[in-house]
């Protein structure tokens, strides 16, 4: 579910086809994300799932799965 949501956000914000977004896709090296993309994605996730994502955590995200796992942990927490 979270992965699907994240794929939709990456597709809308970064204009990347959903089938090219994999759990192991590297945000910066493969998907060519920049800080503005990440800010938009994080804000949308925070609003959708009513969570807060810390700046230190954002800085640690490397692949798509890192974000999915972090959001999952936040929701469960």
């Amino acid at each position: 579910m979270i992965f699907e949501k994240l794929k939709s956000l990456i597709n809308r914000i970064m204009d990347i086809p959903k089938d090219e977004i994999l759990l192991e896709s590297h945000l910066y090296d493969e998907l060519d994300a920049d800080s503005l993309d990440i800010s938009q994605i994080i804000l949308a996730l925070e609003n959708t799932y009513k969570i807060d994502i810390e700046n230190d955590d954002i800085a640690s995200f490397q692949v798509v799965e890192d974000i999915v796992n972090h959001v999952e942990s936040k929701i469960e927490g």
């Binding site: 914000i13 970064m14 204009d15 503005l36 993309d37 800010s39 938009q40 804000l43």
Partner: protein, 415 residues
């Protein structure tokens, strides 16, 4: 020794054409680009008319990610800059990127974005405001965007002098090249603020025409004028150091020879009595070029269609040009496209440059009732062929800003 500066490229997105050629051909034909506002419902608005772009879709020029990051005023600036850059023959040419600059003017920045994000703030709270709000809306971002798009790494600046900004920007670019700070500068203005908030602000200031006939609303120098008509668009000129342009065999449209700018120090919105600040700006531009008033053969007026501006500008012209004022054809581009605010001076500079290049002055359309206070030659019966050596453009802005730039027909043989 100051360097000589020439114009080697032009680009425009206007209510009468989305390219320079379309704009200029329609200007020569006296086409009116003012119409009923279509971008939002005008039921509650006293003002029904504006100069909106026609058949324009920013999405056709940018991919989705780029588009989402650009307020409309940046989009227009980039599109016009790309056209000017291409017309200047700069695509795929090896130039020193560190000597390529950008100096843009605008009046209100990305206010369409500010309005959208304000709605989100008020309706849904602070968490819903886009991270893109600031990088889309700050007035200098059009300059940064053009620099990114065209890889211009040299000097860079943004002029915010309301409706004088486009002219100030070109003047500053002229001066920077004169003093050796850059080889080429992409300069001009862009504006996109036709939205109920801005329309209401200008309406309640009694600055706008309430007329509903598109042909009788923006009527500069006409006795029945009652205000300006808002417009949107962008104008870009490529200014280049003469030797640099000659070396790469660039097409030269005209030379830039003078720049003057002043402040009224009088009132927030009204011009100083007798157009005193504007007259000093014109005088400085002529002195800067060492050109005598009687040598000027065309003035592209600020000519907004407000009662105060057109009277004061007329008086200011008489102060500078004395008896010769009656011999100079003066036209207002705003009669066709409305007032493009921070982009106005740039689009009107293009009208001047084209006039000098083609020896043709576009007319002031819609004029019918003579005003005793405005008794100069406003070119009111269509355009006019005339040999033009020097053409002056004026722009005046809220805050009392006045700017004038003087163009000269290009001749290789010395100044």
């Amino acid at each position: 020794m100051k360097k000589r500066v020439v114009i080697t490229g032009l680009g425009a997105v206007t209510p009468i054409g989305n390219t320079v050629d379309e704009f200029w051909n329609n200007a020569k034909s006296g086409i009116c680009g003012i119409d009923y506002i279509k971008s939002f419902a005008i039921q509650g608005s006293k003002v029904k008319l504006a100069g909106e772009l026609k058949d324009f879709n920013g999405r056709n020029h940018f991919d989705r990610k780029q588009f989402n990051r650009l307020d409309r005023f940046s989009q227009l600036g980039i599109i016009a800059a790309r056209e000017a850059y291409e017309k200047a023959g700069l695509n795929n040419v090896g130039i020193d990127r560190n000597r390529l600059g950008v100096i843009m003017g605008n009046g209100v920045g990305g206010i369409l974005t500010i309005v959208e994000e304000t709605k989100k703030l008020l309706n849904y709270g602070m968490n819903m405001v886009s991270p893109l709000l600031m990088p889309k809306s700050i007035p200098n971002i059009v300059t940064g965007n053009i620099a990114i798009d065209l890889n211009a790494k040299g000097i860079s600046n943004t002029v915010v002098t309301a409706c004088a900004a486009g002219t100030n920007a070109i003047g500053e670019a002229f001066r920077a090249i004169q003093y050796g700070d850059a080889d080429i500068i992409i300069s001009g203005g862009s504006e996109a603020c036709i939205t109920p908030l801005v329309l209401a602000g200008f309406t309640n200031l009694n600055a706008l025409s309430l007329r509903e006939d598109p042909l009788r609303a923006s009527i500069p120098f006409d006795k029945e004028r009652e205000g300006f008509v808002m417009g949107e668009g962008a104008g870009i000129v490529i200014l280049e150091e003469l030797e640099h342009a000659l070396k790469r065999k660039a097409k030269i449209y005209s030379e830039v020879v003078g720049y003057g700018f002043t402040c009224d120090a009088h009132h927030l919105t009204s011009p100083a009595p007798k157009g005193e600040g504007g007259s000093r700006s014109m005088k400085l531009a002529l002195e800067n070029a060492s050109v005598a008033p009687q040598e000027v053969s065309y003035i592209n007026a600020h000519g907004t269609s407000t009662p105060y501006n057109d009277k004061a500008e007329t008086e200011g012209i008489k102060t500078v040009f004395k008896g010769h004022a009656y011999n100079i054809p003066i036209s207002s581009t705003k009669s066709m496209i409305g007032h493009l605010l921070g982009a106005a001076g740039a689009v009107e500079a293009i009208a001047c440059i084209k006039a000098v290049k083609e020896n043709y002055i576009h007319g002031t359309i819609g004029y019918s009732v003579k005003d005793g206070d405005c008794d100069l030659d406003y070119v009111v019966n269509g355009g006019r062929s005339l040999d033009i050596n020097y053409a002056l453009t004026n722009s005046f802005g809220f805050g009392g800003h006045n700017a004038s730039v003087l163009f000269k027909k290009f001749q290789d043989k010395g100044v």
